[in-house]
């Protein structure tokens, strides 16, 4: 047997699509056809698209739940829903939107875009990427498994004890939530590891850390945040499950436990998570908006640093969710002040976007409207957040609709609007076709007006004292008219989402062909064809600036990136590994091919949790062994990956 090469000097050459090099790459990287290929693919572009589509399906489910609640609340004393049904609907609405839509949709964007932005061929761990998707999908289904039985989680998405304890909630509702969240945590964790290592190790040569797009900064910040924060919530849910099913006493005040421990663990996770579901979306805007303003982002370094600063501060503010729990005043003062300092990095980003628009030559495309709409909603949501960061104001407003208004301005404003804008922006890259612009602008106005009509009056309802999570209200409280307006707005917003989806579906077939770079943008993904070939780049580009495709017109120094000419890596699946800070090449990485193992391991893991839910301990043990065997097979050293030489 020939020994595996241990060293090579990479050849630098010119290669375009259609060249001999690219044909060889096509054969090497192309997946199997048919169902087998679909189930075994590890291509980041396929996985990214799946993440986005799946997250949007969950968005629709969560949206239908919201509309059911809005019909119930449209008038006083309605009886469409029972209190228990309402509890399950608002819980599943929150769980779905926050855990099954908001982060996964951003993971989808980053999975699809990262290797293209970074000039690489795939994520650092392609099979782990597939595992992350499958576990997300199965955890989402798991969380919904008791919904048809009328036994869905029913204690709100933050699931406070003691109502979540066995004594007050004896059904399977909370166990489904607890185990489902631990399972979902595995997906989030492996996905985050993948992003961090991909950034650290697989950028194109020359793409030093201060040259990566802001979306990359946003996602890597969110991923590091997740690695530090997700263990808190997985642990909290596991301890709750131990309390409920094994007779432990962590949250049981009759045996030395503390109900507030739940709130601490949950919000130690919960607040960083809030930034995890917005920072990548802010990155979408920071990269997309400047292209549509025909200039580089104002204050790249300040925006990148403000992204990281927001997350760092985000770990020190969790108690602002607990101002009304009777903690010492000194503690409240500290956390109030810490929460207010988050205004500073947020303002840095907002002023950078405004300055970019102000000093640019804006092109009023649909994506531009969504990005600028986001800036406005972010400011409104930021101001209401600043208000509730003040302890006395929070004591008045907590548990009212004011908080509901705030969190929807933040999450829809900073997540949904950039995501929809981002899809208008990158849809042509992923599909080769443009979405309809005229229709898109109408869609924006329907969504924007519907959103504000739906959520702005909630501020007023909160100030009028309407508590959140109440299934109905009496007619003499003066809440009827604002609630009716909110419901009308919610349906208009829902209509806007439907219009957007119609545009996407129709454009998929009938959109105008896009070409490689329809927006005349600056980053590497626009240098490949639309949609990109399976291997992304025929040769690995070499990067000399932040804006590789704009260097000639920016005239920013003598260095020029090399895009059509670059490293030829065509012996089996290969990409380049580069150093962490300066992106100097230091290894030629062998990449794994398509595999069924991620799917099988995900099935086995899900079986472990399903058996635990059903108290089938033998089944859980067998599934755990299957998970272990699958992992061993996955990691078995392979010659093709140059892990062994003999």
């Amino acid at each position: 047997m020939a020994t595996i090469e241990t060293h090579r000097t990479p050849v630098i050459a010119r290669a375009a699509d259609g060249s001999a090099t690219s044909q060889k790459l096509q054969r090497t990287w192309d997946g199997k056809p048919g169902l087998g290929g679909w189930l075994s693919t590890v291509d980041h572009k396929e996985i990214g698209k799946r993440y986005i589509v799946t997250a949007f399906i969950f968005l629709l489910i969560g949206g239908l739940e919201a509309l059911a609640m809005r019909v119930q609340l449209a008038r006083p004393n309605q009886t469409l829903l029972t209190p228990e049904q309402y509890n399950q609907l608002f819980t599943m609405h929150g769980v779905t939107m926050i855990f099954l839509y908001a982060l996964p949709v951003l993971s989808g964007f980053s999975n699809y875009l990262w290797p293209l932005l970074l000039g690489s061929r795939d994520m650092a761990f392609p099979r782990l990427n597939a595992l992350s998707y499958w576990v997300f999908l199965f955890a989402g289904i798991f969380l919904y498994c008791s919904f048809p039985l009328g036994k869905a989680p029913n204690d709100g998405w933050f699931n406070y004890v003691p109502y979540a304890s066995l004594a007050y909630n004896p059904g399977p509702n909370i166990d489904v939530y607890a185990l489902g969240m631990v399972l979902l945590g595995i997906s989030t964790t492996v996905g985050s590891i993948n992003f961090v290592v991909t950034l650290a190790r697989t950028r194109a040569p020359g793409m030093s850390l201060n040259r990566v797009p802001i979306l990359v900064w946003g996602t890597v910040t969110a991923s590091v945040g997740n690695l530090f924060a997700v263990p808190a919530v997985s642990l909290a849910f596991f301890l709750l499950w131990m309390d409920r099913q094994a007779g432990a006493h962590f949250f049981d005040s009759t045996a030395g436990g503390q109900p507030l421990l739940w709130q601490h663990l949950f919000w130690m996770f919960g607040h960083p998570w809030v930034y995890a579901i917005v920072l990548p979306a802010m990155g979408i805007v920071s990269d997309g908006l400047p292209v549509l303003c025909r200039r580089p982002l104002v204050g790249y370094t300040a925006v990148a640093l403000s992204t990281v600063t927001t997350m760092v501060l985000g770990f020190g503010v969790w108690v602002h969710h607990m101002f009304a729990t009777g903690l010492p005043i000194l503690s409240l003062s500290y956390f109030s002040a810490a929460s207010m300092t988050i205004v500073i990095p947020s303002a840095v980003a907002v002023f950078a976007w405004i300055a970019t628009i102000w000093t640019g030559r804006p092109v009023f495309t649909t994506a531009f409207l969504f990005f600028t709409g986001f800036v406005l909603l972010f400011v409104i949501g930021g101001v209401s957040g600043f208000m509730t960061a003040a302890v006395p104001v929070d004591w008045q407003l907590t548990r009212t609709y004011f908080v509901v208004a705030h969190l929807h301005y933040v999450i829809i404003g900073i997540n949904v609007f950039p995501v929809v804008g981002g899809i208008y922006f990158w849809f042509p890259k992923a599909t080769g076709r443009l979405m309809n612009e005229a229709f898109g602008k109408w869609t924006f106005w329907v969504m924007f007006i519907g959103f504000n009509v739906a959520f702005f009056p909630m501020h007023i309802l909160g100030l009028l004292g309407m508590p959140r999570r109440t299934y109905t209200y009496a007619d003499n409280l003066g809440w009827g008219t604002p609630n009716l307006i909110v419901t009308i707005g919610a349906f208009v917003f829902g209509l806007g989402i439907m219009l957007f989806l119609v545009n996407a579906f129709v454009s998929l077939r009938h959109g105008r062909p896009a070409g490689p770079n329809p927006w005349d943008a600056s980053s590497l993904e626009w240098s490949t064809s639309s949609p990109p070939p399976v291997y992304n780049f025929a040769v690995i580009p070499m990067v000399a600036s932040r804006y590789p495709l704009w260097e000639n017109r920016l005239d920013d120094g003598p260095d020029r990136s090399s895009v059509g000419t670059g490293l030829v890596l065509d012996k089996e699946r290969e990409t380049i590994g580069t150093s962490v800070l300066d992106a100097e090449p230091d290894v030629i990485l062998k990449m794994p091919g398509d595999s069924y193992l991620p799917l099988l391991v995900a099935v086995a893991m899900t079986a472990v949790f399903t058996c635990m839910l059903l108290h089938s301990w033998w089944g859980a043990g067998i599934a755990a062994v299957a998970t272990f065997l699958g992992s061993v097979g996955w990691l078995w050293p392979r010659r093709a990956l140059a892990q062994i030489e003999t």
């Binding site: 595996i4 241990t6 060293h7 090579r8 000097t9 990479p10 630098i12 650092a124 761990f125 964790t189 590891i193 961090v196 290592v197 650290a200 190790r201 040569p205 020359g206 690695l227 530090f228 997700v230 263990p231 808190a232 997985s234 642990l235 301890l239 131990m242 094994a246 007779g247 432990a248 006493h249 962590f250 049981d252 030395g256 436990g257 503390q258 421990l261 601490h264 663990l265 070499m542 990067v543 000399a544 260095d559 000419t565 490293l567 590994g577 090449p585 230091d586 290894v587 030629i588 062998k590 272990f628 990691l635 078995w636 050293p637 990956l641 140059a642 892990q643 062994i644 030489e645 003999t646």
Partner: protein, 199 residues
């Protein structure tokens, strides 16, 4: 020009030492696992600080088993470090010896922990201290078991002759995880066995 820093550079190919992506992935896994234990120990100290009755309820736990257990885990990490240094110089046999000794020591630790568990007068259900003790040491034992499985698989691969001086990333990745299991035990040991004696 961009090409200048790349021309005529010989680059390693494939999985080599700390250049392997898996090495970086393992460091990230250890970071998130370390946070898991940090949150576990936070829960311990939070509940201890709110305890109305004496803490721990039965006085500080005995060191009779825990101290030998701790020394055994440290010894396991030392022999593993020695074994890994061996394969870096191509000495497969030294790696095999290191893995086998670490496996034996790890199993011994589990046996000792099991006997301590058996001897405790309280259970998980007795009070919140019992819940914490069995859950946190149980979490650690679970990590020891995973670590032992990793070492066992590495032993199989080493015995097949899969590793040499160039290609042994899997061994380095498994060994760093084993060191983590040892270090995190030191934090658990300090929390349960030493901290109550400091008060």
């Amino acid at each position: 020009m961009a090409e200048t820093f790349i021309h005529n550079r010989q680059l390693p190919v494939g999985s080599q030492g700390h250049l392997a992506s898996g090495w970086w992935g393992m460091l990230m896994l250890i970071a998130t696992e370390a946070m898991l234990f940090a949150y576990l120990l936070f829960s311990y100290f939070y509940l201890a600080s709110h305890a109305l009755s004496p803490w721990p309820p039965n006085g500080p736990p005995s060191l009779r088993i825990a101290v030998p257990g701790t020394l055994i885990l440290i010894a396991g990490s030392v022999v593993m470090w020695w074994g890994e240094r061996g394969i870096e110089r191509g000495k497969t046999r030294r790696l095999i010896v290191g893995l086998s000794l670490a496996l034996v020591l790890g199993v011994l630790f589990l046996v000792l922990q099991g006997s301590e568990w058996k001897g405790e007068p309280f259970t998980l259900r007795t009070n919140v201290y019992g819940s914490l003790y069995f859950t946190i040491t149980g979490f650690h034992m679970f990590h020891v078991i995973v670590g032992l499985l990793v070492l066992a698989v590495l032993l199989v691969w080493a015995a097949r002759g899969d590793f040499d001086a160039n290609r042994h990333s899997a061994a380095s990745i498994g060994v760093i995880y084993w060191h983590f299991v040892t270090i995190v035990w030191l934090a658990v040991f300090f929390t349960f066995y030493i901290a109550p004696r400091l008060g």
